[in-house]
Symmetry: C2
Subunit: 427 residues, 2 copies
Amino acid sequence: MNAAKVAIIGFGTIGSGVAKILLESGKRLGRHAGRPIELVRIVDTDLVRPRNVAVPRELLTSDLGTVLNDPEIVAAVELIGGLEPARSIVLKLLASGKNVVTANKALLAEHGQELFGRSIAFEASVGGGIPIIAAIGQSLTANQVLSIHGILNGTSNFILTQMEEHNAEYSSAVAEAQRLGYAEANPAMDVNGSDAAQKLAILAHLAFGAQVDWKAIPRVGIDTVDVSDLRYARELGYSIKLLAIAELASDGLELHVSPTLVRHGTPLAEVRGAYNAIRVVGDAVGRVFFHGLGAGQMPTASAVVADLIDTIVGRAAITFRALELWSDRGEAAVTLRDPAKSAGRYYLRFNVQDSPGVLAQIAGILGKHAISIASVIQHETEEEADGVVPLVIMTHKAPEGAMSQAMAAIDRLPFVHPTSVRMRVRD
Amino acid sequence: MNAAKVAIIGFGTIGSGVAKILLESGKRLGRHAGRPIELVRIVDTDLVRPRNVAVPRELLTSDLGTVLNDPEIVAAVELIGGLEPARSIVLKLLASGKNVVTANKALLAEHGQELFGRSIAFEASVGGGIPIIAAIGQSLTANQVLSIHGILNGTSNFILTQMEEHNAEYSSAVAEAQRLGYAEANPAMDVNGSDAAQKLAILAHLAFGAQVDWKAIPRVGIDTVDVSDLRYARELGYSIKLLAIAELASDGLELHVSPTLVRHGTPLAEVRGAYNAIRVVGDAVGRVFFHGLGAGQMPTASAVVADLIDTIVGRAAITFRALELWSDRGEAAVTLRDPAKSAGRYYLRFNVQDSPGVLAQIAGILGKHAISIASVIQHETEEEADGVVPLVIMTHKAPEGAMSQAMAAIDRLPFVHPTSVRMRVRD
């Protein structure tokens, strides 16, 4: 049978990984695809920078037209990243009749409306090598998904693990992540929760048909987490993870990204370093948990090449159609739930003047808002500076609204210094 | 669009679960399938036994012919289990042009040759609700799979967890599993490793193209594990799990099922109760880990209904063809590796007469076979009976062949009483 001709657009780290698999594992891929897969073009603006894969020079070009105008190319992999020129290029590829495979979560989260349901496969956009898109879009379709809890940003998880295991300050953990290549020079999108929110928007679309602007998802990043919070959390039996959460309640879908305390011994708490993990709860299947490398050259390339094979055998096209039906389902859009209506347990840390009656007053305000206290940590501590000491409180379940009011009242107390910390707890 | 008509053959626990999803979640399923799915027949020999789902009486029949001879039925779900009459019925369904969905691992492990590559989907046959068949058969196809480590039998894992957490004897843990419905009246296939070996044969076929008779897979069950081994393992920092292992080495594929020590803190060690888990290592993706309910009515029904949707949209048919190509790949069949050539760390327990020089002689024999000792546990113990005490040794890495010879020599020592225990250790 004729070979399936494919092209790579964007010859960076992931592009090199995809080229490596296509050039070095041709025989195995051909078996899975039913015919050989032939890499015929690699398009990039920089053709001289060294890459860790040897490709025949004649494949390289800076002219996208050689792909758009070649009717024999059936699929193109977009690995440029970011919004532009990636978006224009993907739209041109689709317009010229190419199937597109992409790892570009920013593009999908921002322009999903014009892309979902078209001939575009995107397993690599969330969870790297973890097949979470296939799981939710295909394997769990018998279920009403009830919740998704994900550690979707490997950079943040690496930094939190460094802080937890080595008692490292946030800034030095970031520096270590940068040194090892887990964080970019400007890690803002990773550490402020934006990257995780983009991925959550994609998962929420697949699992709930929710068409959500990722920028509307409430998010707090790990740049708010102090190393002392990791120590107190451990003392209480918890780790802190940046969780991206989608939960279906009777009054709507709740979406948020934030540092969250997860109990030791649960699978999410045990996810260390640059790994990602996703826990999905379905009404029939119960709890299913996925764990693997969420980024990196070869794990991401693994997902991209699987999408290429799916595209070539025609399986991807069937999934696109289903996605389109899902989007156009003509029902009321999923309502996003008012976060103030949610309820949960909270971890609180206040910086207080070390004087009599402080705990009583803070506990009094919590009590007035019907919030009861599960544990308190106040140590005699050498951390004390100018008579200010940390006071840590873990609450029982309380409504978010009441919690916000109580926090505001506590922050107005004269002996409470900035900045108070509040995180959700998941048991 | 016309509804896709389907039938259920076998109206037991799983069949009732499948009927429940089809009858109660029709709207959601129809969105995923692109058209309504209509359950038109349920075939069983017993039509009066009560089930936990209300089905219209006219669906029920004991006549398989009503399915075989109805050209409008596009897919049938075989949930009879076991070899016969399940095999004959599946062959008849295929011959009459029906697509078949099955959860029957025994049938696939025994008669895979005549079934793989035909129009048969079997996600539910391994790992219950965990989408491991889709993961290996589709999502990880860019990879050369290097190894699979699975906790594939929930009954065994439940029993081991009971023994570990409640210090329960094997027999009372089995009784508890039976009381709770996790073990059948005759749990032999579960506890002797046969069920896990059948599932491993299916995974090995998918991941390596290996056509293996499951009965040829070396297997040891949990019926050989004493509660004291769980205690000693914990003391050494390990849990004991029934692992089904496929490992690709340069000289072939090694397959076996046996109770194995897995280090605390690793994902497999944390799998408790009736859960299943599978760790797959691929050359590109690295380590991917899946965890979920491996049995039970609704988790299994979740996988069956996902297969039904895949069949109706035509995605399953594409996967069958790929499977067929995989089987007919015209290469030398994968060689099964001689287990004597493998190497690993071992946990050993001997029952020895409590007298001077015993440890020295046993250590001497191990040394003579170039096996070095990592840890020893010999307690002053109230377990002592007739002067016989347990001696536990954890070795460094040693070849299986040398280990077998050393064990035989040790067992011939006059002060060593039956029965010595040997288990592999995975770090």
